[in-house]
Amino acid sequence: MALPAVPVSSEGATRILSGLLEARTGQILSESRAWRIETVLKPVLRTHGLRDIDELASRLLRSRNPGLDEDVVHALLNNESSFFRDLQIFDMIRRQILPQLREKRARERRLRIWSAGCSTGQEAYSLAIQLRNEAELWQGWRIEILATDISRAAINQARSGVFPQIDVQRGLPVADLLTWFEPAGDDWRVSPDLRRMIDFRQDNLFDSRAATGAYDLILCRNVLLYFTQERRHAVLDLLAGRSHDQSVLLLGAGETVIGQSEHFVPHPDFRGAYGRKRALAAGAGGPMRCAR
């Protein structure tokens, strides 16, 4: 079915803006976002005193303006996120994945988690909450949570740990709100304890500098869907390079490694999760080896 034409923006301006998004992030402007490009860019137009997206595109072409570039890219990214998004996934992490990792990493007592494409941080904070709610099980463990996103604005918000009321109501149980947040005017602020658990970094998934070594659990959810097939392959290659034989990879619902990567296969123990192909073919539980 053909989509209706973009109503107000000229095709040329949309092409320029989507070109900027792809150059900076590797993401393609989805049809749903192209359709509402005028709406999502309204705050940027207002801030920079621009009339419409034609003028914005022409300004971007005319002169280099890193601040404007960054604002446009941030506006075009889908930064939608919520606490414990997809409750069943977090249930599986708590009940199945973390216990298995605890067992397999018992000798090192070190757990490394990477939230890749973390947006404004709700996913990383949800993981931190799960771990802290069962702190007695992780006594003496060294736990690292890295959370990265291409958007500087998203990372700054994540780092601040301040969320509006509407955000703390979506997916966050009230018991966790009371335990891990405090009121901050009309907003809510994550406790310093929780904030200290997470290393938030602006980072590009195609050339990650922030992620080093191998991670036990990698979440890269609702990220791949914005990439071309070729780029999905590249990202999964990078994730493979940051994983080991017992690592668990979680993608978003509707995302898959099948046909996209020779490194990952569906995990036999965890529904909807993925593990390293070589390790699972050889039988899970072998010695831990860095993948590449």
Partner: protein
């Protein structure tokens, strides 16, 4: 089909909540205050109660306290849904036995996530 009792003295809020809850495939009953809700719970306990705080006749908190002394076949999940957004109110509600808390204004996503947390959907 699971059943939700919406307790609010505002007709508009009841209508909005009904619309959202029915779209989530719950059957909905309505009560205009805590006393009305208590009577309805005694007749047939719902799976979940969406409960306003400030209401005439009997408040949400008074309803919750009365409910603990009422013999029911099964205890419904209680989700407060109120403009009382201060932390002291939230704490008091949880201590009194509320399972979840929604601060008004709310939307479909919020309600859906809270119903999922209490295991109703």
């Amino acid at each position: 089909m699971k059943n939700c009792l919406v307790v609010d003295d505002s007709k508009v809020i009841r209508k909005v909540a009904r619309h959202i809850l029915e779209s989530l495939e719950l059957s909905v009953r309505e009560a205009v205050d805590g006393q009305d809700a208590l009577t309805q719970c005694e007749a047939a306990a719902p799976d979940v109660v969406l409960l306003d705080w400030n209401m005439p006749v009997m408040s949400g908190m008074e309803f919750l306290q009365a409910l603990t002394h009422t013999k029911l076949t099964a205890r419904p999940k209680i989700i407060f849904c109120t403009t009382e957004n201060g932390i002291s109110h939230i704490k008091a509600a949880v201590e009194a036995g509320a399972d979840e808390y929604v601060m008004k204004p709310f939307d479909r996503e919020t309600l859906e996530s809270k119903l999922a947390i209490v295991g109703v959907i």
